[in-house]
């Protein structure tokens, strides 16, 4: 286990320590944690009374009420449990573009969010789309797991060939638990991103979609008669770059982003478009905080 990581700077880690992941939904956790759960349990926070039934733990009987009313009531407390945080990264070949590469940027983002989760005692799972449905991935919990988590994230390499929809489907099959899921990728799937997002939606998770695009994709600096080769499937497009075509491309990109944002918003997902040039710190403290993923 290494003790150094280039993913996140110490300064950023210091800032992240003060943060916590927020969920707009209240989920049931798996273990005791710092999160309020739907489950009634043993926290200090009073929730309700209910009639005693034989077999109940006598420790929770409210004796003061019994003394007054001579009836047995049970005091219920809110349970505090852990939060499941998933980060799902697209590690396809197309993510290997840009400076830094989109994948690197996604890794840093996942690491940062995962670190926040670890600090707050949440269950953190970072996976890539290419992970097989049956493959189990390790769960990280507690600060101690930080370096392990970082190593795990660093191990991702671009070049996975699974489609977005298939990858998300596999993820959903692997992870039935509720929680926050952050999908980080470029959404450039020729079959469309919609089926993939629908799978996530069906899991009833708190979904965040972070689309990472490189500067080359947003403002391509191409000139002349070109044969564009898709790095993933080798598909070719012959173009003669001209002002009208560039205009048309930007219109198409804007329409694509807008439709994705619209798709997510209508379905209660949070969509976020990120350029790989935006510094990570700014990205986390401004963009994600504004969207309510982090506090």
């Amino acid at each position: 286990m290494s003790t150094t990581s280039t993913l996140l700077s110490p300064e950023l880690l210091a800032r992240l320590e003060k943060m916590e992941l927020l969920s707009r939904k209240i989920f049931r956790g798996r273990m005791k944690g710092e999160r309020r759960s739907r489950r009634k349990g043993q926290s200090v926070e009073f929730a309700d009374f209910r009639n005693y039934v034989p077999g109940d733990d006598l420790r929770f009987v409210d004796w003061n009420t019994y003394a007054r009313l001579e009836r047995l009531f049970l005091k219920l407390f809110l349970e505090e449990e852990d939060l499941h945080f998933y980060a799902l990264l697209d590690a396809s070949a197309s993510m290997d573009f840009g400076e830094p590469t989109k994948l690197r940027y996604a890794q840093q983002l996942a690491a940062a969010l995962g670190f926040v989760g670890l600090v707050r005692g949440d269950r953190v799972k970072i996976e890539t789309l290419g992970q097989a449905a049956a493959a189990r991935s390790s769960v990280f919990r507690g600060r101690r797991s930080m370096w392990r988590l970082f190593d795990h994230i660093e191990s991702f390499v671009p070049g996975e060939t699974v489609s977005l929809a298939q990858g998300v489907k596999n993820f959903c099959l692997r992870n039935s638990g509720k929680g926050i899921v952050v999908l980080i990728g470029d959404l450039m799937d020729k079959a469309g991103y919609e089926p993939a997002l629908r799978y996530l939606l069906a899991q009833q998770m708190d979904v965040y979609v972070v689309q990472v695009l490189s500067a080359e994709e947003i403002d391509p600096e191409l000139v002349g008669d070109l044969r564009l080769v898709d790095c993933e499937d080798g598909d070719q497009a012959d173009v003669t770059v001209s002002a009208p075509l560039m205009k048309r491309y930007k219109q198409t990109l804007a329409a694509f982003v807008e439709s994705a944002r619209d798709f997510c918003t209508r379905r209660g997902m949070v969509y976020l478009l990120v350029r790989n040039e935006v510094p990570l710190e700014e990205m986390i403290t401004d963009y994600l905080a504004q969207r309510g993923l982090i506090r």
Partner: protein, 656 residues
């Protein structure tokens, strides 16, 4: 007009140039080599291209358009390298005079629509060639010249003036037109005119006279040209077909006085023999017809016996399918016979009085005989000044002032200037007569003996009708609109015991004939019923017994009122149209007269290749300066434009 070409390149340069279009086309068939670039995803690109592929047919067209534009550019370059040019006409000089012939022959239709229109078109083309600073002038000419447009640099005004020129039926004479043009070209005259108009004087540059004509006019003396430089532009095709009526007249039948005979002379100006139908109509009704074959260049006479014709309009027409219709018709107006009013002032002349009272003479004239003392009466003075008589015969007497009538003086001369008499000569012998003169026709004078005679001095314009070894014995001379005749011998003389003959003439058959001829000729238009004919544009004298105004109805129905100028005679000059004119007085037709072309020079349509200018002959078109009007500059500009369009479209081009 087709352009002429000029080769600018050698064969190998042409080979290279001509190899370029196939090279361009083959380049278009070769697929464009594209640089491969790896991108994260072609997803958005494909979608962008798809949007543009919706109008891919336009894309393809646009690509082909580029090819076409490149080929067009190359074609323009090749054509420009061939240096195409039109042969333009460069005007000579900066002072131009356009002399446009609008005589009758310019109505010929061998040029479409006719020669005049052709000449006008040529003149307009010349005006178009005028450079700024050039001044032009337009003169139309037939037998007279008319300035259609004074000197001006305004090409529009010159064009308007040229277009406004109308054809006439007149004959042609270039002299007056050249005089007018030369006067304009003469710097001294121009300077004078400039002084008068208080404008700046112009320098003394010679003018160029563009003569647009078929050349149907006589020789012009070189001196007429003055400062003009003539350029002759012949109008008309060579050898057009034409059959012309050269003369048409009506004569009394030789044997039967009451019968009229129509005589005509036709000439074939065509290079081929023609067979034409000639029809004669009297007041519109067919009177006679004939078929005549005429050899090329030959003349044929034809005659029609008309029988008794009191009055009417005879129209002769030739059904020739030639290109000049003006000379295919001729008219003769047969006027009702009006006996001449003849006054004989004589102390007594039995042979003459006898000759004037024959049956034939009575038909021609109403003769009044008065003694010489009548000349002193007021009645005579009024009648003589008022033109009441057509002919006054003064026998051995003479008036103090000449009357408004034709006169015949016997044994005396008129009191006017020019007339004189020599000393008496005994027994002069008649040596010659003028048989062509109407008064002397059919007279055999060789058996006439004169006892005494005084030769007569011939006044200006006079003709000798009877000449003797001593001098002229019968002379006729014009006076204003009248004719005066005088004999140098007496017919009779008073002697004791009565009248004694001074010549054997009264007892010869020629004497009553002479009297009849005199009554006919000097008595005023009764002998030849068709002699009232005029040339187009020429004035004619009209006589009407009544005073006041008369009106002349033109062939087209238009009427002109004429006031009496003097003694019932009127000059009528509006004879521009061919045909029969009616003289009306008091609502009825008094007489008619015809206007006919009868001009062999106008009818000879063959255009003259050269103008006869005295010693110099000016060949047609000799003054043309051929100017090459090249158009490679506009072609190159067009090529540049095509290049710009191609570049624009290329930059608008998006993708395959």
């Amino acid at each position: 007009m087709w352009p002429t070409w000029m080769n600018m390149l050698g064969w190998w340069q042409w080979a290279i140039l001509l190899a370029v279009p196939p090279a361009i086309i083959s380049l278009y068939f070769l697929k464009l080599r594209r640089r491969p670039v790896e991108v994260p995803s072609t997803y958005l690109w494909s979608r962008s291209i798809e949007d543009l592929h919706v109008n891919s047919i336009w894309q393809r067209l646009r690509r082909n358009l580029l090819l076409l534009l490149q080929l067009l550019l190359l074609l323009l370059l090749i054509v420009a390298l061939l240096r195409p040019a039109w042969r333009g006409e460069q005007l000579i000089g900066h002072r131009l005079v356009f002399l446009i012939d609008n005589s009758a022959s310019m109505k010929a239709t061998d040029e479409r629509p006719n020669r005049l229109e052709r000449a006008k078109r040529r003149a307009l083309a010349l005006v178009d060639e005028m450079r700024s600073g050039d001044v032009g002038m337009v003169i139309s000419f037939a037998d007279t010249a008319r300035i259609e447009q004074m000197r001006t640099g305004d090409r529009a005004a010159l064009g308007r003036a040229i277009r406004a020129i109308k054809p006439t039926d007149r004959s042609t004479s270039l002299v007056e037109a050249l005089q007018v043009a030369a006067a304009q070209a003469d710097p001294r005259q121009i300077a004078q005119a400039a002084e008068e108009e208080n404008t700046t004087a112009v320098d003394s540059l010679p003018a160029t006279a563009y003569i647009l004509s078929d050349g149907g006019f006589g020789p012009v003396s070189e001196s007429t040209l003055g400062n003009l430089r003539p350029v002759y532009i012949p109008i008309g095709r060579s050898s057009p077909a034409n059959v012309a009526i050269l003369t048409f007249a009506v004569r009394r039948h030789e044997s039967q006085e009451d019968y009229l005979r129509a005589l005509a002379r036709l000439k074939n100006f065509s290079p081929k023999k023609v067979d034409v139908e000639v029809t004669l109509r009297l007041d519109g009704k067919l009177k006679d017809a004939d078929r005549v074959a005429i050899e090329p260049g030959q003349t044929r006479r034809i005659a029609f016996d008309l029988g008794e014709v009191d009055s009417g309009v005879l129209r002769l027409s030739v059904a020739a399918s030639d290109c000049f219709a003006v000379d295919d018709e001729a008219w003769v107006a047969v006027n009702p016979v009006r006996p001449a009013e003849v006054l004989l002032v004589t102390p007594g002349n039995q042979p003459l009085e006898l000759a004037l009272t024959t049956r034939s003479a009575a038909k021609l004239a109403h003769v009044v005989v008065e003694p010489t003392s009548f000349l002193k009466t007021q009645q005579y003075a009024t009648a003589a000044a008022g033109g009441a008589d057509d002919l006054i015969i003064y026998d051995r007497c003479r008036p103090t002032t000449m009357p408004q009538a034709n006169t015949l003086f016997i044994g005396n001369v008129p009191p006017g200037e020019g007339w004189s008499r020599g000393e008496p000569v005994a027994a002069p012998r008649i040596i010659d007569t003028d048989p062509t003169h109407p008064m002397m026709q059919w007279l055999a004078m060789d058996d006439v003996v004169l006892r005494e005679g005084r030769p007569i001095g011939v006044p200006p314009g006079g003709d000798i009708l009877i000449d003797s070894d001593a001098g002229p014995m019968l002379v006729i001379a014009p006076r204003e609109t009248f004719q005066d005749a005088a004999t140098g011998f007496l017919l009779v003389e008073e002697e004791e015991g009565g009248q004694v003959g001074r010549t054997t003439w009264p007892i010869r058959p020629s004497f009553p004939m002479f009297v009849l001829n005199t009554l006919g000729y000097l008595g005023g238009g009764v002998q030849e019923p068709g002699h009232r004919s005029a040339r187009p544009g020429h004035p004619i004298t009209l006589e009407a017994a009544t005073g006041g105004s008369i009106s002349v109805v033109h062939p087209d129905g238009q009427a002109t009122r004429l006031e009496a100028v003097r003694a019932g005679r009127r000059r009528f000059s509006a004879t521009e149209q061919l045909g029969v004119y009616e003289v009306r007085s008091g609502g009825r037709t008094v007489s008619r007269f015809a206007v006919n072309l009868f001009d062999p020079r106008e009818s000879d349509l063959a255009p003259r290749g050269a103008l006869d200018m005295g010693a110099e002959k000016i060949a047609g078109r000799s003054g043309w300066e051929a100017a090459r009007r090249e158009i490679w500059r506009p072609l190159l500009l067009l090529g540049l434009f095509v290049l710009i369009v191609e570049w624009y479209i290329y930059n608008q081009r998006v993708s395959m």
